[in-house]
């Protein structure tokens, strides 16, 4: 397919399908993330990038034969490598015998929340997740450094007004329905954020959904209007505050005499401390993810208006 628009749409469908596959594999948290990220934000970002770089791919390709040879050799070797792997869905595979039983059997006493994925994510492997959040933050800053366009207040103002009237006239139905929907999406994001201890959900998913609401607003009402509603400096600050909150929880637990990110010492008894710690770091994750996604989208589409 040479039309990149079709390719991007296909990759969105692929994302949605893999999300439903994850549900079938019992990974509800992952499916949730993949549905909001793979099918939603990723498709959107690629579409924006495609509008910036041109829709058609050049037809010339150099030597697909060599690529095929490399691909087949690698694939053959990989399949040969799988012959020693444990069978699909066997409960005796090595992965299920080492750390997982501890998480499954003891997390209720140690952490006290039913969703094991959240307790592993936020508490047992909290340091790892801190690293991931920092990576997301860095990627957001990288996009900002690459694509940032200085906003010009006067021009933005007139553009905002003109887009506003245009939208008001042409897309009345879209506008009204979006206005009704956005509060629900925001509410849902908050529900996902704070319900993550008990069901599928958590800071990562909530952040993406929250960002999706703002991106929807920006798409229907125009970027300059959205810029006035969502202050860019504030969003950048929020991205940093999320990481800081996460690290700060770790430091506070150190000051209270525990290890870094050891929430047991945050409150009187260990389980309450764990609850508090997980709540705070999920909040930090949510802040960072949401604001990084908003930063990325705003800078991509800001480029488009600019050029």
């Amino acid at each position: 397919m040479r039309d990149l628009f079709a390719v991007v749409m296909m990759s969105g469908i692929f994302g949605l399908l893999s999300a439903s596959f994850f549900v079938a594999m019992d990974a509800v948290d992952v499916a949730f993330t993949e549905a909001s990220v793979g099918a939603g934000i990723a498709t959107l970002l690629m579409l924006t990038a495609v509008t910036l770089t041109g829709r058609l791919e050049d037809s010339e390709r150099h030597k697909p034969m060599w690529a095929l040879v490399v691909v087949f050799i690698t694939g053959g070797l990989l399949i040969y490598g799988t012959l020693d792997m444990p069978y699909f869905d066997s409960s005796q595979a090595p992965v299920h015998l080492h750390v997982a039983p501890r998480y499954i059997n003891d997390s209720m006493q140690e952490i006290g929340i039913p969703n094991i994925v959240t307790s592993v994510l936020a508490s047992y492997r909290g340091f790892d997740t801190l690293g991931e959040v920092v990576v997301i933050f860095t990627a957001g800053m990288g996009v900002l450094a690459l694509l940032r366009v200085e906003s010009r207040p006067g021009i933005d103002q007139t553009m905002a007004d003109s887009i506003f009237y245009l939208m008001h006239e042409r897309h009345l139905i879209l506008r009204v329905v979006t206005k009704i929907l956005i509060p629900f999406i925001l509410l849902f994001a908050l529900y996902v954020q704070f319900h993550g201890d008990f069901g599928p959900g958590g800071g990562f998913q909530a952040g993406v959904i929250f960002a999706a609401a703002i991106i929807l607003y920006a798409m229907v009402f125009g970027l300059p209007t959205a810029r006035r509603v969502v202050n860019q400096t504030f969003v950048r600050l929020l991205a940093a505050v999320g990481v800081l909150l996460y690290g700060g929880v770790g430091l506070v637990s150190m000051l209270n005499g525990g290890n870094f990110l050891d929430y047991n010492v945050l409150a009187g008894d260990p389980v309450a401390g764990q609850h508090l710690g997980i709540l705070l770091i999920e909040l930090g994750v949510g802040c960072t993810v949401a604001s990084v996604m908003v930063i990325i989208f705003f800078n991509f589409s800001g480029r488009r208006n600019h050029s």
């Binding site: 970002l45 770089t53 041109g54 869905d89 094991i116 069901g199």
Partner: protein, 117 residues
């Protein structure tokens, strides 16, 4: 019994599709899409490893004793969001290349570079 390994084969096929796109296509955006396919194949690999026969989703509830392995879920959950952030960075680079060279085709970028030297 060798058919019990089919999940790995699906993953390998998907991975190779992604790899083929990355190698054989010159368009940078398409290369990034190939990378996301590769990425999703890795996600599927991890998640299919975590599956335990007859087990339920890893959310503790009464009356359920077998749960799928939560650890790969955690790794992939974070990897997905990190993946989109890095993909966005890659797309940003592609956009900047497009602005500097007027094209995102690998070959024409190379040609422009050669002429300048």
């Amino acid at each position: 019994m060798i058919l019990g390994l089919y999940n790995y084969w699906v993953v390998v096929v998907l991975m190779m599709i992604g790899l083929y796109i990355v190698i054989a296509h010159g368009n940078l955006i398409k290369k990034i899409i190939g990378l996301t396919i590769f990425q999703t194949a890795v996600f599927i690999f991890y998640i299919s490893i975590a599956k335990v026969n007859g087990a339920s989703a890893p959310i503790l509830a009464e009356g359920i004793s077998r749960y799928s392995n939560p650890l790969p879920h955690v790794l992939i959950l974070t990897a997905i969001v990190v993946g989109i952030a890095t993909v966005a960075l890659g797309l940003a680079l592609a956009v900047r290349i497009n602005e500097a060279y007027g094209s995102v085709e690998e070959e024409s970028v190379q040609n422009t570079d050669n002429q300048e030297c």
